[in-house]
């Protein structure tokens, strides 16, 4: 008995317990849902068979059905635009603001904290606020633009099929900048000041310092922020639900919202699973790139 307590306290038992907890958590909350989702994508699933494993297998039928839908390509293209533009803009703005707050001026850390306000607001509130800002007839944005004399007729930010997606991207960029900014600020703070001083003495300009010191030393942070940005952007759901419901006519629909519509509005759960399987595949690829880029960092 004493032996058992001892192994447990400072021997193999304790290690096993710790690993067991972590592994158990991963199996229950990550591996199982992933495998279950993969399984459902090959089955005919409806609401009532959701809880049982005994469901008819339909092979690749769900995948064929999704691939034959005419809305697939437009929605795919929307998703690419949504993720691409959002991540690039969030990163550049976040980086710029982080560098700005790195400058020494009164209240710089305070003001940086205030920037997080948008990020900590509940998604539902964010959606409601943006729907007031972007409303076509009485929206704040149209009011401001027409007062400034920039537009003559109202722009229907959310109901014009050529504009709706970009309006959501705009709102999403706003939502993601604070997070990017904070993570990059942490990285910037970690770059030793004397490196810059040495470079300055050698006559390096600000631009040269940025490209030869800041960027290379931020490599790991940038990799992390880009990967997380892609993942968070693929998770973005509330803005679509609050602003356009993917409309008009799917012009602002993206994979994550389409998957939800199929599974929980149409009850075509197998089809919804197909889309999440495809998205998981993509996220795994992104995560792989991320892991590779940080491993390189550790080795060097």
């Amino acid at each position: 008995m004493l032996k058992f307590t001892n192994t447990f306290r400072d021997g193999v038992g304790f290690d096993t317990l710790l690993v067991g907890i972590a592994l158990g958590y991963l199996v229950v909350f990550s591996a199982f849902p992933l495998a279950y989702n993969l399984l459902m994508s090959f089955q005919d699933v409806d609401l009532f068979s959701l809880t049982s494993f005994d469901r008819p297998f339909v092979g690749w039928d769900n995948y064929r059905e999704i691939l034959s839908r005419p809305e697939l390509l437009p929605i795919l293209w929307n998703t690419v635009k949504f993720v691409g533009i959002s991540v690039i803009a969030q990163l550049s703005l976040g980086f710029a603001i982080a560098m700005f707050f790195q400058l020494d001026f009164p209240f710089n850390t305070w003001l940086r904290g205030l920037f997080l306000a948008g990020w900590i607001m509940p998604a539902l509130v964010v959606g409601a606020v943006w729907s007031w800002v972007l409303a076509g007839d009485f929206g704040v944005l149209n009011h401001v633009l027409s007062e400034l004399g920039l537009i003559r007729a109202n722009i229907f930010w959310l109901s014009d099929p050529d504009v709706a997606l970009y309006s959501i991207i705009f709102a999403n960029i706003w939502l993601g900048v604070p997070f990017n900014m904070i993570l990059l600020s942490v990285g910037l703070a970690g770059i030793p000041e004397d490196v810059y001083e040495a470079a300055e003495m050698d006559g390096a300009t600000r631009i040269q310092r940025f490209f030869t010191i800041t960027l290379p030393m931020m490599r790991a942070q940038l990799g992390a922020v880009i990967s997380l940005g892609v993942i968070f952007t693929l998770q973005q759901f509330d803005l679509f639900a609050a602003l356009t419901q993917g409309g008009p006519a799917n012009s602002s629909n993206v994979f994550q919202y389409w998957s939800w519509q199929l599974a929980f509005q149409n009850y075509e759960i197998g089809l919804g699973s197909v889309i999440s399987v495809l998205m998981i595949g993509f996220v795994i690829a992104v995560a792989f790139v991320y892991v590779r880029s940080t491993r390189y960092e550790q080795e060097s």
Binding site: T51, G136, D137, Q265, Y267, E268
Partner: protein, 402 residues
């Protein structure tokens, strides 16, 4: 109240007089109401009348009802009685999850199927059985701002009765310089869009399983005209009925198509003369139609107290004449409403109710609805002609309705 059931209860009561708690029947009731609304109020009243019955009322959000119910059925935790939305009766009935009330209704002194209006009755019927009792109903009509009619030189006593008249009136009432639209409605890509469009389709001779008709194309072209010509806001494509009606209440639209659920807010907000008229019909048409909303009280097939559950449903049904004044929806059966609130508007809705038609029935209703929404949205945005959009919707619907 079923006398036989009373008898059973009385005998049971005597036999178990020593164990007072054992004779209580417990019924679980799920509802979308909050405390103070229909199910809570009537359950309280029923328990006061029948101390031997205890009703546990639980609120479930409307959007979660189908999912929660399906899960509860799968795990054996289903309630005895629940409220479900009209188009979903077919989904649950087709799976044999609802109790067929036909034999109970035949034996009942309170419920007579003939009294229920055809639309609501169709909504609880599935393949020959009656699977629920409507708790009430709602429908849509055309609200209009009579003051704006007068100001624009239109006669508020002659509201538009045909599609052409609606177009002409809406065009006359539109004043872009004052930010006033002639008409507001909802073409949003949700069930609400289907709800608004279906009556137009049905008035023109189509139905949920027959959407590719000339009349439907005409209706969609008219809707497109409303938006393209600035008679209705472009945001009609993303606005719910509630939000569209908000613009009418604020004086930014001269007419709006919506239902009686708007009245409490409308009557407290508006400062003009509001009137209502049934939905306009296509020129020369003779088929009237209107949307059918609200839902039904159903008994789950898994209940262990079918008699007690039906007795409660009978009580709910017997209070149908109160739903307009107290709970804000229309009676779904032929009952006399004494001294209705907003009497003129009530008369319009009561008339429209006679023509209200069910959405479906089909166990695959959400997919049909999605196809119809797709047709509405792709033709209103100009991505497809109304004819092509409807043909595509028809092929999607044909896959579901065999």
């Amino acid at each position: 109240m079923d006398m036989k059931f009373l008898g059973v209860l009385t005998v049971g009561g005597v036999a178990l007089a020593t164990a007072a708690s054992a004779q209580q029947t417990e019924l679980d009731l799920w509802t979308i109401d909050d405390p103070g609304e229909y199910h809570y109020v009537l359950a309280e009243e029923y328990m006061a009348l029948h101390p031997e019955v205890k009703i546990n009322v639980r609120t479930v959000q409307l959007r979660d009802m189908v999912n929660d119910l399906a899960r509860a059925v799968a795990t054996g935790d289903a309630p005895d009685i629940t409220y479900i939305d009209n188009p979903e009766v077919a989904l649950f009935a087709s799976r044999g999850l609802l109790m067929d009330l036909t034999p109970y209704i035949e034996a009942s002194d309170v419920v007579h199927a003939d009294d229920i209006f055809p639309g609501p009755l169709a909504s609880v019927s599935y393949e020959g059985g009656i699977y629920g009792l409507p708790r009430g109903a709602n429908t849509i009509a055309l609200y209009y701002n009579a003051d704006m009619f007068t100001a624009a030189g239109l006669d508020p006593d002659q509201p538009p009765a045909t599609w052409d008249e609606l177009y002409e009136a809406a065009k006359t009432l539109t004043r872009p310089d004052d930010n006033v639209y002639g008409l507001a409605f909802s073409a949003v890509a949700t069930e609400e869009g289907t709800f608004q469009f279906l009556p137009w389709l049905q008035m023109a001779g189509g139905d949920f399983d027959n959407v590719n008709t000339a009349g439907a194309a005409e209706a969609l072209s008219l809707w497109k005209q409303f938006i393209d010509e600035g008679i209705a806001s472009r945001d009609t494509l993303i606005r719910s009925q509630w939000d569209s009606t908000g613009t009418f209440n604020a004086g930014s639209a001269a007419m709006v198509i919506s239902g009686p659920w708007e009245l409490p807010r409308m009557m407290s907000e508006v400062e003009f003369d509001v009137r209502a008229t049934p939905l306009p019909m296509p020129a020369g048409g003779d088929t009237r139609a209107s949307a059918l909303g609200e839902g039904d009280n159903v008994i789950l097939a898994s209940t262990d107290a079918p008699e007690a559950s039906f007795a409660f449903l009978e009580y709910l049904y017997s209070q149908m004449d109160r739903v307009w004044n107290e709970f804000g929806y229309l009676p779904a059966a032929d009952v006399e409403v004494v001294d209705p609130k907003f009497p003129e508007i009530y008369a319009t809705f009561e008339e429209s109710m006679q023509f209200a038609r069910n959405r479906g029935p089909s166990p695959e209703w959400p997919q049909i609805s999605k196809a119809i929404q797709g047709a509405i949205q792709s033709s209103l945005t100009g991505q497809a002609s109304p004819e092509d959009a409807l043909a595509r919707a028809q092929s999607q619907i044909d896959k579901v309705v065999k």
